[in-house]
């Protein structure tokens, strides 16, 4: 098994993990195995290509995020209206991170094999949980890195080192927020539903969230007033509910010296919410693991619904019996 550079980086925080009562050696062992397995997982898209691909396919797809990040660059050049520019930028960053988290890491978060393989061994739950979270964070940092590297350097050139420093700090906070929020979301879903139903609901949540984020964009943009290409910001209470604005505020506050009460409040939210979310998450993790058990079982029986309309169309459009079978199968 080869050594991973990401693990070497994590090794720098050895002392910190120990301080929190994590079994560092075991955690590294689990991470190394997980990363080895990730290298071998072939995304379904590549299955049919016949050629055997080596290496981590996920890492090889990162360049696409680099291209996405070009979209962010214009916002760095339209002046010093930070609350506007940075709110939009963080809106996009949060969107990309959240969708990538849901699309790529749901399987990691909801992996039920871990229970049988890891939890039956003399490894305490905290270590497993931390290993799982770090595993996701490693990949999230790759995605974030690919997406943010370019804007960060352009920002450094355009707005100076202080800007980049704030940017970097906020990116880390935003990343934590996304990982923890997604986990909390699943936690909530897992609490109230079980078995097969749960998998459906996670799909719905994925769709709803994507839609929600787009709608959120509209709301975000309405926080600003456009008059003759001048963009002004006036505060309303509901802005407290829009995370991207939290992350725009520190720039406005520190770089433009705008110390209005709501700016300070936004900044405080940007810093405190991820931290509080982590605390809540670590408190709720045991019940999350417990509910994960539901994924393995399907205790509720349900009635198969009849779709009269579907049957009608199937009869009308499908001439042979075979065709009809596949038509029914789709529903």
């Amino acid at each position: 098994m080869r050594e991973f550079k990401s693990l070497k980086f994590i090794a720098l925080f050895k002392g910190l993990f120990r301080r929190f009562g994590v079994d560092y050696e075991v955690m590294m062992l689990i991470l190394r195995i997980k990363l080895t397995m990730d290298e071998r997982r072939v995304p379904t898209v590549f299955n049919e290509m016949g050629k055997k691909k080596e290496g981590n396919q996920f890492l090889k797809s990162l360049w696409i995020y680099g291209i996405y990040s070009l979209l962010l660059l214009p916002f760095l050049f339209i002046g010093e209206n930070y609350i506007f520019q940075m709110s939009i930028m963080f809106g996009m960053i949060l969107f990309i991170l959240m969708t990538s988290m849901i699309a790529d890491f749901t399987s990691v978060l909801l992996d039920v094999r871990d229970k049988n393989v890891l939890q039956t061994k003399p490894v305490d739950k905290k270590t497993i949980t931390v290993a799982k979270t770090i595993h996701i964070l490693i990949y999230m940092s790759f995605v974030t890195g690919a997406f943010v590297a370019l804007p960060l350097f352009v920002g450094l050139y355009r707005h100076g080192p202080l800007f980049s420093l704030i940017f970097l700090g906020e990116i880390i906070l935003a990343m934590l927020l996304v990982v923890v929020l997604t986990s909390l979301l699943y936690l909530f879903v897992l609490r109230y539903f079980d078995g097969e139903r749960l998998k459906d609901i996670i799909n719905y949540v994925q769709i709803l969230l994507s839609v929600g984020l787009i709608v959120g964009y509209q709301v975000l943009i309405h926080a600003f007033e456009f008059t003759n290409l001048n963009i002004t910001y006036s505060f309303s209470w509901w802005h407290y509910l829009i995370p991207p604005i939290w992350y725009g505020a520190p720039f406005e506050m520190i770089l433009n010296g705008n110390t209005a009460g709501h700016m300070i409040a936004f900044t405080a939210l940007a810093i405190l919410v991820p931290i509080v979310a982590i605390l809540v998450y670590s408190r709720l993790m045991p019940s999350f693991e417990r509910n994960l058990e539901k994924m393995l079982s399907d205790t509720k029986s349900r009635k198969p619904g009849r779709h009269l309309l579907d049957e009608f169309w199937a009869k009308l459009l499908c001439r042979s019996k075979e065709e009809r079978v596949f038509s029914d199968f789709q529903h």
């Binding site: 195995i33 039956t120 061994k121 003399p122 305490d124 079980d194 205790t299």
Partner: protein
């Protein structure tokens, strides 16, 4: 060696409900050293749930579970160091090779890497899997995978074994080997707790049989004791009787008639 009736495992009034459904209804069980316990029961009787509770996979149960004198509800996982587990449906990390998986599991049990590797190799040799040790588990047949899992549960020389359906997918020869391994391990003072649906085998290798129906222990004793309690000669007969299942012939006849296409009451 310690005295033969040292208590390894003790379960008191274990109940567990699952989404409003009562899965376990007050199980009491005392297990002492060196016993081979066949844990049997119809599907959904709560066998796997009991095993999962004992392994700390499920923790919202009611009652008391003490293993090696330690109440497992404290959350301290160190008691698992002396337990070997073979899961029910051959779940493992399929993307790993047999060797990688075994070494990983060995290390989780706190073994030295080189030691785990050496031991895994010689055990694979015994199961004639040495040639495929660097092949991925996903390419293994069910029986081969089961053997790897059995090895993984024994690497650290545990004192208590939980084997959930250990024989599924194994051919007749391998079954005989496993059967022999079980009885020799028990002679060494290991305690073995396994569940199976193959009654002939349970009858042959267990020195104690626990029958679970609807989350309750309905029979507990050696095969001979169970025979005395009921009039049936074989364990499957006893099983049918105690689970209240007598109409297998009618059921089968009805099933076949439906297969044939007689729409008598469909």
């Amino acid at each position: 060696m310690d005295s033969a009736n040292e208590s390894i495992l003790s379960i008191q009034d274990l109940t567990m409900s699952y989404g409003g459904k009562q899965v376990l209804n007050g199980i009491n069980l005392e297990v002492s050293k060196g016993q081979i316990i066949g844990y049997i029961g119809p599907n959904g009787a709560g066998k796997s749930t009991t095993v999962k509770i004992m392994l700390g996979l499920i923790d919202n149960y009611k009652g008391k579970v003490v293993i090696f004198g330690q109440d497992i509800s404290t959350g301290d996982p160190s008691y698992k160091r002396r337990i070997g587990y073979v899961p029910e449906n051959a779940e493992a990390y399929d993307n790993l090779t047999a060797m990688e998986y075994l070494v990983f599991i060995g290390e989780l049990y706190g073994l030295d890497q080189a030691f785990a590797q050496g031991k895994a190799e010689s055990l694979l040799q015994q199961f004639e899997l040495i040639d495929v040790r660097h092949a991925r588990l996903s390419s293994f047949s069910k029986g081969m995978k089961q053997k790897v899992l059995i090895i993984s549960s024994l690497l650290h020389n545990p004192d208590l074994l939980f084997w959930d359906e250990p024989l599924s997918g194994l051919d007749a020869n391998s079954m005989m080997v496993i059967q022999e391994i079980l009885s020799q391990l028990a002679e060494e003072g290991k305690t073995i707790f396994y569940s199976s649906h193959i009654m002939d085998l349970v009858e042959k290798i267990s020195n104690r049989i626990v029958l679970l129906v609807n989350g309750k222990v309905v029979a507990d004793g050696s095969f001979e004791e169970l025979q005395e309690q009921s009039e049936e000669g074989s364990l499957s007969g006893i099983f049918n009787q105690l689970t209240g299942f007598t109409e297998h012939r009618e059921k089968a006849a009805h099933f076949v008639s439906v297969v044939r296409g007689d729409h008598d009451d469909a």
